[in-house]
Amino acid sequence: MNGAILFLSIAYWGSMGIDARSMALMNGTSPVVSGAPSVFVNPAGLPFSSRLTASFSYAVPYELNDLRYGEAAAAIRLKNFAIGAGYSGKRLEKFYSESNLILAAAVRGTLFDGMQAGIGLNLRNFRVSASEGEAFRRSNWAVDFGSELRFRALRLAYTFHNMTYTRNDMDYVRTAGIAVTRNGITAGFTYQWHRFYETYSLFAEVVVLKVLALRVGYGEGNMGIGAGIIARDYYIDFGMNEFEAGTGYSFTFGITR
């Protein structure tokens, strides 16, 4: 199976990056992410990929006219070790912006025959800037943690993302996920603990003839759908999901080689 089809990332709007596949799969993809998008989701997925990977995503949440997200990431793997870098940004017209600059490193190893484990860390610089009224600038550093266990078709993952905006206002997202991938079919379940609420995702992906991926996700009464096309070393994804708050769309272009 082309490694590209495992390029999934979580779509917790603007906090940890977003891509089209995660939109479709309702943000539950930490157990199956690999390569460049891992820096936004689960850095432990970095070494489970091709040697070079890159991805670019653009998203429109809830049909809001003045809010846009973009992200880009690249990663390189050297045997069992991988490093990556990512940038995600969001902007409210001209008066507010947030950005994350992420440096990631991860290693994988074989525990025993057929079982592989990976751990990864992000060093992330978060910046926020507001220009309406009194100018506001803040820059914080945070560390994210990710882990992954793969045994045959089974994938397990646990992540912790430190979403601290200020020193006195701790925020975080933790995820635990399980997925099974076999013969081009992936199914999984992920539970997420946010600071103020909890949520879950059920998702499935089917790859047809190694060129077309069809995706569906479900979580908390909301649905996501999407599709991707894989052509040699490139892939293009589209995803959308429907919340009470509105419909979101995302487009992703990726390279893997």
Binding site: Y12, W13, G14, S15, P61, Y62, E63, L64, D66, L67, K90, L92, E93, F95, Y96, E98, V128, A130, E132, G133, F136, R138, Y165, T166, N168, D169, D171, H194, R195, F196, Y197, F243, E244, A245, G246
Partner: protein, 327 residues
């Protein structure tokens, strides 16, 4: 003498108590308030409204419909003047249909699907999409799917009005509609309305005073067909003429005031969402044309980040973003 007696026997005036049994013949010709063309439905002869009847006694309003539907719904919307209601039906929790009203605000909805008695009833519209069964109301369908027949309903004044009694000076406005499934528009209306666009804007209706002398007692000796008027309100396109947030960047202690105005009367909600799409707070509103409404939210408990305000009505949504920052 005989001719006078005969004439009197053919004239029916209020108070007239109707036996609610689905037999439309219970109403007299003087209680026919909206005659409708037998061939004006957009959906053909199997989905037509022919006649709408209305009368009352001292405690109850009676509504009758002579109609036919086949796999469609018949709706009769009734406005009781100052009583609460809903300007739009599209967000109702019962028989949501894509109609909005200009000049009337339905308080009571009588509805049935495919002339199937168990699917229908009489409900009170409480505002912002909520409905509840109208206590004391009676409702019987005599028609069958694809077969012309009657529908009769009784509406006790004590249940229709919030005060529990007929409001002095009360006027009833009424319109009957044939509509498709949930959130669909209409195929026929009585009185006639231009059923175009989405939503269908209903701006023609029948209006009849029930307590013209404002003594708090329903008028006696009224011939409904003489007292009724068909009223037409000029249509106005629905526009949000103002939508402003007091601040787009909020700091601790700042409150957020949302100011907005519509060209049309309607009900809706102002919702506050966080960036992940979780609804944090919600406030209902009822807007009059061109009135500027101010809705205030406290943001003290909100963690830093991006949020958005949504103004939502049955047929309209607009949103604006803001951000909370903390030093």
């Amino acid at each position: 003498m005989l001719s006078i007696l005969l004439a009197i026997s053919l004239v029916s005036v209020t108070y007239h108590t109707i036996t609610v049994d689905g037999e439309i013949e219970d109403f007299s010709s003087d209680e026919l308030i909206i005659p409708d063309s037998p061939s004006d439905s957009r959906w053909g002869s199997m989905n037509e409204i022919f006649n709408i009847y209305l009368t009352w006694d001292s405690t109850t309003l009676y509504v009758g419909a002579d109609y036919v539907v086949q796999y469609n719904a018949l709706l009769i919307a009734v406005d009781f003047g100052d009583a609460p209601g809903d300007y739009g039906l599209n967000d109702l929790d019962w028989y949501p249909r894509n109609f909005s009203f200009r000049g009337m605000k339905p308080r009571i909805l009588i509805a049935v699907w495919n002339s199937d008695q168990p699917t229908g009833g009489v409900r009170k519209l409480l505002g912002n999409g909520r409905t509840e069964v109208l206590s004391g109301a009676n409702f019987v369908v005599g028609a069958r799917s694809g077969v012309r027949g009657g529908l009769e309903a009784s509406i006790p004044f004590s249940s229709a009005f919030s005060s529990g009694r007929l409001e002095p000076g009360a006027t009833v406005k009424i319109v009957a509609l044939i509509a498709g499934g949930d959130n669909s528009t209409g195929g026929d209306a009585a009185p006639d309305n231009q059923l175009i666009g989405a939503p269908n804007v209903i701006n023609r209706f029948a209006e009849i005073p029930v307590d013209s002398d404002s003594d708090g007692v329903a008028d006696e000796g009224v011939m409904p067909d003489s007292a009724v008027q068909i009223v037409e309100i000029p249509p106005i396109s629905l526009k949000l003429t103002a939508f402003d947030l007091s601040k787009r960047i909020l700091r601790p202690g700042d409150g957020l005031t949302v100011s907005f105005a519509f060209t049309e009367n309607l009900d809706g909600t102002v919702n506050l969402y966080d960036e992940a799409g979780n609804k944090i707070d919600s406030k209902d509103f009822s807007a009059e044309p061109d009135d500027t409404l101010n809705v205030t939210f406290s943001t003290d408990a909100l963690p830093p980040g991006i949020y958005f305000i949504e103004i939502k009505t049955a047929n309209f949504v607009d949103r604006k973003t803001f951000a909370v920052v903390k030093p």
